[in-house]
Symmetry: D2
Subunit: 345 residues, 4 copies
Amino acid sequence: MINVGIVGSTGYGGCELVRFLLTHKDVHIQWVSSRTYVDEEYSDIYKSYFTLIDQKCIDEDIENYLDDVDVVFFATPQGVCAKMVNDNILSKVKVIDLSADFRIKDVNTYESWYGIKHASPEFIKEAVYGLCEMNRENIKNARLIANPGCYPTCSILSIYPLAKAGLIDMDTLIIDAKSGTSGAGRGAKVQNLYCEVNESIKAYGVANHRHTPEIEEQLGYASKQNVLLNFTPHLIPMNRGILITAYASLKEGVTQKQVQDAYQIYDDEYFVRVLKEGNVPEVRNVKCSNFVDVAYKIDPRTNRIIMMGAMDNLVKGAAGQAIQNMNIMFGFDEKEGLLLAPAVL
Amino acid sequence: MINVGIVGSTGYGGCELVRFLLTHKDVHIQWVSSRTYVDEEYSDIYKSYFTLIDQKCIDEDIENYLDDVDVVFFATPQGVCAKMVNDNILSKVKVIDLSADFRIKDVNTYESWYGIKHASPEFIKEAVYGLCEMNRENIKNARLIANPGCYPTCSILSIYPLAKAGLIDMDTLIIDAKSGTSGAGRGAKVQNLYCEVNESIKAYGVANHRHTPEIEEQLGYASKQNVLLNFTPHLIPMNRGILITAYASLKEGVTQKQVQDAYQIYDDEYFVRVLKEGNVPEVRNVKCSNFVDVAYKIDPRTNRIIMMGAMDNLVKGAAGQAIQNMNIMFGFDEKEGLLLAPAVL
Amino acid sequence: MINVGIVGSTGYGGCELVRFLLTHKDVHIQWVSSRTYVDEEYSDIYKSYFTLIDQKCIDEDIENYLDDVDVVFFATPQGVCAKMVNDNILSKVKVIDLSADFRIKDVNTYESWYGIKHASPEFIKEAVYGLCEMNRENIKNARLIANPGCYPTCSILSIYPLAKAGLIDMDTLIIDAKSGTSGAGRGAKVQNLYCEVNESIKAYGVANHRHTPEIEEQLGYASKQNVLLNFTPHLIPMNRGILITAYASLKEGVTQKQVQDAYQIYDDEYFVRVLKEGNVPEVRNVKCSNFVDVAYKIDPRTNRIIMMGAMDNLVKGAAGQAIQNMNIMFGFDEKEGLLLAPAVL
Amino acid sequence: MINVGIVGSTGYGGCELVRFLLTHKDVHIQWVSSRTYVDEEYSDIYKSYFTLIDQKCIDEDIENYLDDVDVVFFATPQGVCAKMVNDNILSKVKVIDLSADFRIKDVNTYESWYGIKHASPEFIKEAVYGLCEMNRENIKNARLIANPGCYPTCSILSIYPLAKAGLIDMDTLIIDAKSGTSGAGRGAKVQNLYCEVNESIKAYGVANHRHTPEIEEQLGYASKQNVLLNFTPHLIPMNRGILITAYASLKEGVTQKQVQDAYQIYDDEYFVRVLKEGNVPEVRNVKCSNFVDVAYKIDPRTNRIIMMGAMDNLVKGAAGQAIQNMNIMFGFDEKEGLLLAPAVL
């Protein structure tokens, strides 16, 4: 049994962490902290937790609360974790950061895409990129986990087998992504009002979305080459879920069989489901679960392959993967607390 | 560890039973049966279950499959369970019927509201109305459970304390109910198409909805008088959830304190949450969970009380309550398999 | 051809006024004013109007801009119109106020329900309540129109025939109302975010919603008695539309024929459609149009009548009715600019 | 004043035709025909039209009804118009076919993508592809209009300027498209039920959607070369609207200025709006209107251009463009009946 603390607990990511941790048999939620709601009952902010959690939000001076906990999740905006983390914290607790602060190894890339100065670049090297299916061994002993972004998790897992096997021309890679609105967070902005999102769809961050370099870096490791790609996210009128549709030219002579074999890399992965031929990923088939569904289709007319992936942005794209990382770090069953079947309805 | 079978497994109620039973630690799903999809993979019908359930639908001649199971759930249309059930079945397995066949004690009332002849009225008397919070003791030893309807569960639990305490004038009772679209089932009807439901709302079954006599009967037991009420359901553009708003005149001289005391009847009930004063039930606060949230507000201007309840129609209103009944019947922890916190997003 | 000005043009009500006025053949939009977006292009705030309106928002010192216009619409929050209006304005232009400032004749009632001091009670008496179907003659020569609230318009029109004909017991009247989210306005509040409204439903303003006294007053005139009723609004996950379901006991001996005759009061009203027996109002059948669909059902078991009405809150409930009032005031065809058929999809 | 008939009037396309034609000042709807609903009141099928249209559906033997009408719209499934159309019909009335039957000049291409034998290939050559902005002159005197598909209209108009100006490498063209659910039609299929579409998104017709060759043919004319491209549509939980996001490599040395100049081809087009730099098309900004909003963004990192377009699939993508074609054919103002501003809410 371990004790956990959650910084930034009142955002949507924090809310989802609480939901999963409440039923995790090896975990006790020791404290939840917040910048905005200090001293308020957590179950007054999310009334779904009424009778389930009996705690007030504490402030964000978390160094005062480290002795009680084994691991701290940061479900905070960009920059917060980088500002807070230090040797003292890392010597006392494990840190799992759901923000982007430690995902990108090149600090200049981080600073130019995110438009902020990195407050603790000295920890970037140590941080382990917590895409469990790719970095499981390194995660085990990490002190600081950079929990992957939602779009990157879905994009990378969908494309990784072909990038690694060298079957696609990485220079032709285009990712067209679609996300539910919880990805935009809980900030009170006109653009995220019900009536502004409902019955519509739009692209955003065209050619400059911050998740681009994260995807490029990881697919660069996989393909062993520098990768530049186009990534275009779209806002969808639904609460949860991400679907990515990716396009690349197959290298000359690549066969369906080779592609199929490449995806066998996931044969032992519980949370990545390579669909049967003819099926396509649908968000509802993974909703509220930690699964990523991937599939592909080769177009012989253009010699391109269309790669598709569906995932719940709040689960495998945030809280679920964070808990999966925690499970690996503490030697729990990797699936503990994450066994919910998708809520197709 | 018990084995269960599910008749009518491919409707939305069956789908939700599977979702919960897959994570129930004392249960193994032995078979799923279907009229329409015999011999098809269950995970081809609901692809959310890909890799999670590896069974084909069997036919509905369930007498051939009784030896393998301890309990059979009927998630079937009205009339099916009444037609199938018999002494042989009841001697071998427990039966939990999610349809209305055994909910109403007066067979004439059933036949006139449902417009069908009851095929096995001889079992009506034995059947226990499975509203766990009211009939827990009788459920323990029942062979045949009539799992309550979705609207009745939410309506009855919201009104029951005041009916039982005799604080409201039962002749003034009006229930205005709102349900998500999964309540309309999975039949391929034009009226349930996305574009026909979305961005709209309408009443249906006005003054003649079949759940009316079920609510009247149970509130009649509680208030020890004959009850006639108005019940008007509405179709809401959302997948899950029911909200009821009920109105009644307070009897003369009834105080806020008396009302508050009456609702303390739920103090030991885990799944019924009486909200703090000033809060109102919201569907999102119970979504995907087995909770019912209830609240009330007295209007001194009209001397009426407004009673409100929110519930997930597929969980406490169907599959969840069925499993709660099963847990009680087999001596499991009543909450086993039902501990998920609501998915507020 | 007249010129119009719109104060508070950047809220949802103002946005809808612009949409209808752009195709009104007798109207030119002279100016749009705003508190928040002064000097910004109107089509930058609502990009749907790109190429259709080429005006910047002016400030709210509208006394400077009166010479150019014949009528001014106030689509402003409560209190603003009462503060701004004066004899100078009323001597120069017609005023149509979409807020509640001049709807309620008893200033004490206004002040106690709205919680604000009325800034110009001297104009309350003169103001005409602009429910066109009831007050057409008075509207013709009015200088100041109190455009009815959305819930009141739908509620009153649904109940008015029976109240006026004296067929229902007014003491038993209960209105359960449901509205799309545009009714909550365009303010950037967490509770109106997409993810907070979607897939949920809740009551609000239970027993104290401000539209209550407005409905009571008008139905009081109709029934020639003091009316106290319960009014409970609910927030629905859709953009537009209101549905009301109202309940009352029929007076003794009242027949179906008498009820039917009472609704013939609308026989010559284009915008009020009394549905054929057996049909129920649905929001989608009036969406984006100025129609109100009404219907009723008598329940012989309880001797209650259920009255139902559907309407687009932004059209007949706000901008459409305001234009209908303008048409009447300026002697235009009452339907001019309002002939769009409902957008059922 | 002309008289029109509508074959297939009870599908969503027919429904939208009726909505627009009811307010077209030069048009009278003479008859509506249907296969399924013969002799039923049209306003019983779409109750939104109650009091607005007083006609029963006639059968589909339309040769009996030609004398009354000047133009016949076919809003029918693939193959129906090809089967019905003949010299007699074309000698008496203009025909506007909203299906794909006459869109593709190469009958083999049609037959292989649509999987049906073309019943009247002799009329293919004569048919004019009714994309008004590209073929206005030919439309004027046409007897038979092939009204473009929804995806093709949005895709072609978004890409056409660059294809025509020769600024992009046509071999690199990829179109990722998203559509509201009305595009799936009104057929009673499980996959289109509210609960199956809501809160989800999926691709369909991957690498084999029938609109592919239509887009390829038209962009082939524009670019004067053979075009093969990838087109992937997705189903979005909203009623109306299409968004396309298209990707292509710019030819070497192409400048922002050249791209901007190319889009000036639309300077005189009322219904195509090239957005200001920095803005992106959103479905809500064109909803219920005949506008297509287009925009582009150059990514200097990859030297690709991202082209975007938003449109209402039922208006410019079906009924609106059909009426625009009719207006051109009969010498009416091209915008008559189509001047509604978008319903942003």
